[in-house]
């Protein structure tokens, strides 16, 4: 009866995924799996079907079941303590990271948790961080139960070793406060300045005293609080004997401030307090725009974000929970299916099939024999195994690698921006003009000297440059972010533009990391043979067997006898009347293996070779176009931890001048990049897993590829969505355009400066002129930067 549904594509009522050939029908609805159905049942029974009316098919696919007892470690007190935010006699506050949260239905459901379990007092979602703050009564329920409830409705909390060690970084709001204060003072000072600009009656003249002193009062918070943002960096740069853009700006602020005080106190003028506070306000706006952060992304992940917080240990034949730092030598750990190996150890029990793709970039899982070493960072596929720890977590190969100093080197990244250099030239010119003006007035009218010099310094502060820079950076960062290319900070834009060597990782970066593509080479398979083959391969849990079953697309229900699986070799069995063997060349043909770099599985019938299955990495779409565009401008290299099976293909893809290296360990990758840098290259590294982490850090620009937003990426400068990888050339172009836009905006704003200088050198710069020039130049900068970055983005066909 299942076949009736095959013609019409049914989507799961819960998660919206295709139900395939065998949808589960219940309650007049279709579900793709038992998991989705059970979530529906839970919600239906508690009257929470609103969940399905807020957004369509809001659920997450439940095809992959979460292991029972997975959250047993939450019963452990030290783990609880690490996760608890606050606790009193009745209540515990805990914050869970729920990566599956994605729509308003999710938000609604999680905030209504108390209807599913009355001992949950409240739950509040922070959607941008994908976190939920949950308050529950620990006398009647437990943290584990809360986690299990969340899991049962499809929102499995992600708890990692990082939760144990790190406090969440607090968002720093000081800039926003400073901006608020500056805005308040600026607006009021401007209002107080209007009467004088517009002319005030002589009889009301004593009012101006009020206005001026009030302005002075209002300017104090600007100078002594809001502008501190610039003092810090100016001071730091002076300490390093380096002039950055903030130094002349601070000078200008103080010259303006002191001159204004003197004018007001001596009753010779009203000063330039409005212009000064205005410019501080706009510069703060620019800084804030530029510091756009993506809260849902984390650019500083280390290995602890991948490691579990606790694992099961077997002690005196009893299973217990142990947190990672407490794992000791000679402990026996129980590793479940799809759990990460936390420490180096020796396999003592069970069948180990370890996926090291994350650590080494090898895409094939490795079978490990009893008594062999398993390294931390691998992921167990298949059934439970037991592991004797021979190195503690902190001593493991992976952890040590990570903690190596080379992996942390980052200083070279804080290269000085061209904007600082530009501002320096600008400052020299301004000083020259000021000196000339001073010399001129010294001879002609020494009384005007002070006025002229200070006015020059006020007008010619490079704030226009700072504004052009920060506004442009902000616009470009947002543009790129809209295209799922997320930058860690604004400096990265400039470095991307400078890159002249691009290095790719293979597994997980150029490929999807899965062996999706199978090529069959040999005698064509008959329908009966296909069915027999499916019967045999269905017995095995090996990923390659599973792929073959999928590829065959027939169901194997034949009789099978004498099935045997030899780890690392292959599987064999008598299917009805034929003896089938599938596995390595040696296993099938009973002769010594010829070295073969591809991932190939041989098929033998009655001891005779029939054909072979060649497994190919599925390359990301659009790669050919990407390679074509990039190889015109950059030397390219591919560093793969995998075998050399696809060397020829990669060479043809990336061009014959490209470097392709295989069997690269994490350290090799790092050193390759280091060598390039020693040759003077500015290197961009594009990678994914932990095996690229060192190289990503070492490279001038490290780009981490993420399959979906729930995925975890190693520390990097940029996070790119995997589907956008083919648009990398456009992103680089936009980063390059950044500098051009800054120059254009700056050039235009210099026109305003020249007008200002024209008055300033004559010593006749009135506060009104300054007050008109300042916002005029700011507004033109804003228009130019946003207009041009939109124009460039459109040209590059970016969103």
């Amino acid at each position: 009866m299942a076949t009736e549904h095959t013609s019409i594509q049914t989507t799961c009522f819960h998660c919206g995924e295709d139900c395939g050939n065998h949808p589960i029908e219940a309650y007049d609805k279709h579900f793709c799996c038992e998991g989705c159905k059970s979530v529906y049942e839970i919600l239906n029974n508690t009257g929470m079907c609103d969940y399905y009316t807020i957004s369509q098919n809001p659920g997450n696919s439940q095809k992959i079941k979460v292991r029972e007892n997975k959250f047993a470690f939450l019963d452990d007190e030290s783990v609880q303590k690490a996760l608890t935010v606050f606790k009193d006699n009745n209540q515990t506050h805990v914050t869970f990271y729920l990566p599956h949260m994605h729509c308003s239905s999710c938000l609604w459901l999680i905030e209504n948790l108390h209807r599913l379990n009355k001992n949950i007092i409240s739950s509040k979602v922070n959607f941008s961080r994908k976190e939920a703050d949950i308050v529950f009564n620990h006398n009647h329920t437990s943290m584990r139960k809360v986690a299990e409830l969340l899991t049962s409705i499809g929102y499995e909390p992600y708890i990692s070793l990082q939760n144990l060690n790190q406090l969440k970084p607090r968002i720093n709001y000081s800039k926003i406060y400073k901006l608020g204060v500056a805005g308040f003072c600026f607006a009021n000072i401007m209002m107080l300045s209007f009467p004088e600009y517009l002319g005030i009656d002589d009889k009301d003249y004593n009012l101006t005293y009020w206005f001026r002193y009030l302005s002075l009062l209002l300017s104090l918070p600007v100078v002594f609080y809001s502008a501190t943002e610039f003092y810090n960096s100016a001071f730091k740069s002076l300490k390093h004997k380096y002039l950055n853009i903030d130094t002349p700006i601070v000078l200008a602020i103080w010259v303006t401030f002191i001159r204004s005080i003197i004018e007001i106190v001596t009753n010779t003028g009203s000063g330039y307090l409005d212009s000064m506070s205005g410019i501080v306000f706009f510069m703060l706006v620019g800084r804030i725009l530029q510091d756009k952060t993506y809260e849902q992304l984390n650019f500083d992940r280390d290995y602890t974000a991948y490691f579990p917080i606790a694992v099961s240990r077997i002690k005196n034949n009893k299973e217990e929970t142990v947190t990672l730092p407490n794992i000791q030598l000679n402990d026996t750990l129980l590793i479940h299916h799809s759990e990460l190996i936390p420490a180096d150890g020796i396999l003592t029990k069970g069948k180990a099939l370890i996926d090291y793709s994350f650590v080494t970039g090898e895409s094939m899982p490795v079978e490990i024999q009893m008594g062999e070493m398993i390294y931390a960072g691998g992921k167990q596929l298949g059934s439970n195994i037991e592991l004797l720890v021979i190195k503690e977590v902190a001593q493991s190969y992976l952890t040590k690698l990570w903690n190596r100093s080379a992996f942390k080197k980052k200083e070279h990244k804080n290269e000085h921006s061209f904007v600082d250099a530009l501002s320096r030239y600008f400052t020299y010119i301004v000083f020259a003009i000021a000196t000339i003006a001073a010399a001129y007035w010294q001879f002609h009218n020494p009384e005007k000297l002070w006025q002229a010099v200070t006015a020059v310094l006020i007008v010619a502060c490079p704030c226009a440059l700072l504004l052009s820079n920060t506004f442009t950076n902000g616009a470009i960062i947002r543009r790129l972010g809209r295209n799922n290319f997320y930058l860690r900070n604004a400096n990265t834009i400039e470095t991307i533009a400078k890159v002249n060597y691009i290095v790719f990782d293979k597994t997980g970066t150029l490929t999807t990391g899965r062996y999706d593509q199978i090529e069959y080479d040999g005698i064509p398979l008959s329908q009966t043979l296909k069915e027999k083959l499916a019967t045999l391969t269905a017995q095995s849990t090996h990923p390659l067997s599973k792929s073959i079953v999928q590829w065959l697309q027939v169901s194997g229900n034949r009789k099978i006898d004498g099935y045997k699986e030899i780890p690392g070799k292959g599987i064999e069995g008598m299917v009805e009347d034929e003896w089938l063997t599938i596995g390595t060349q040696e296993f099938v043909l009973k002769r010594k293996e010829v070295i073969d770099n591809t991932s190939t599985v041989y098929l033998g019938v009655e001891g005779k070779l029939v054909g072979k299955f060649i497994f190919k990495n599925a390359y990301r779409p659009g790669l050919r176009g990407l390679a074509k565009q990039l190889q015109k401008k950059y030397p390219l290299a591919v560093l793969s931890g995998d075998n050399a099976g696809e060397k020829n293909f990669l060479q043809s893809l990336l061009g014959f001048h490209s470097v392709t290296l295989f069997h690269q360990k994490p350290n090799d990758k790092l050193q390759f990049i280091e060598q390039l840098q020693n040759k003077g290259y500015t290197v961009m590294m594009i990678g994914d897993g932990l095996n690229d982490a060192g190289a990503l850090q070492q490279a001038n620009v490290g780009i981490a590829v993420s399959e979906n937003s729930n995925n975890f990426t190693p520390a990097s400068d940029v996070i790119i969505d995997a589907t956008q990888l083919h648009r990398l050339p456009a992103f680089i172009q936009l980063a390059k355009a950044n500098k051009k836009i800054i120059f254009i905006a700056f050039a235009v704003s210099i026109l305003y400066n020249i007008i200002g200088l024209y008055f300033a050198v004559q010593g006749v710069l009135s506060p009104l002129i300054a007050a008109v020039l300042m916002p005029a130049s700011t507004i033109s900068i804003v228009f130019i930067t946003y207009g041009l970055s939109n124009l460039y983005a459109k040209q590059l066909k970016l969103q």
Binding site: G47, Y173, F184
Partner: protein, 62 residues
């Protein structure tokens, strides 16, 4: 003249109130999450809409 002074003080105090309201809202975490509040406001208050259906036996095709 005195009127202007009074107006001046009044206007600055009003502005100051808004400044403090702004600082308070930042401190209070209103800018922490800009996505959920606009969504949350659209949810109806708890009105359980139980879809009472006779518990048909599940006819799974497996």
């Amino acid at each position: 003249m005195s009127v202007i002074i009074v107006l001046l003080i009044a206007s600055i105090s009003v502005a100051a109130i808004f400044l403090f309201a702004f600082l308070w809202s930042v401190k209070n975490g209103q800018y922490k999450d800009e996505i959920s509040p606009p969504v949350r406001i659209l949810f109806d208050d708890a009105t359980p809409t139980v879809q009472q259906q006779p518990t048909e036996e599940k006819n799974t095709n497996e």
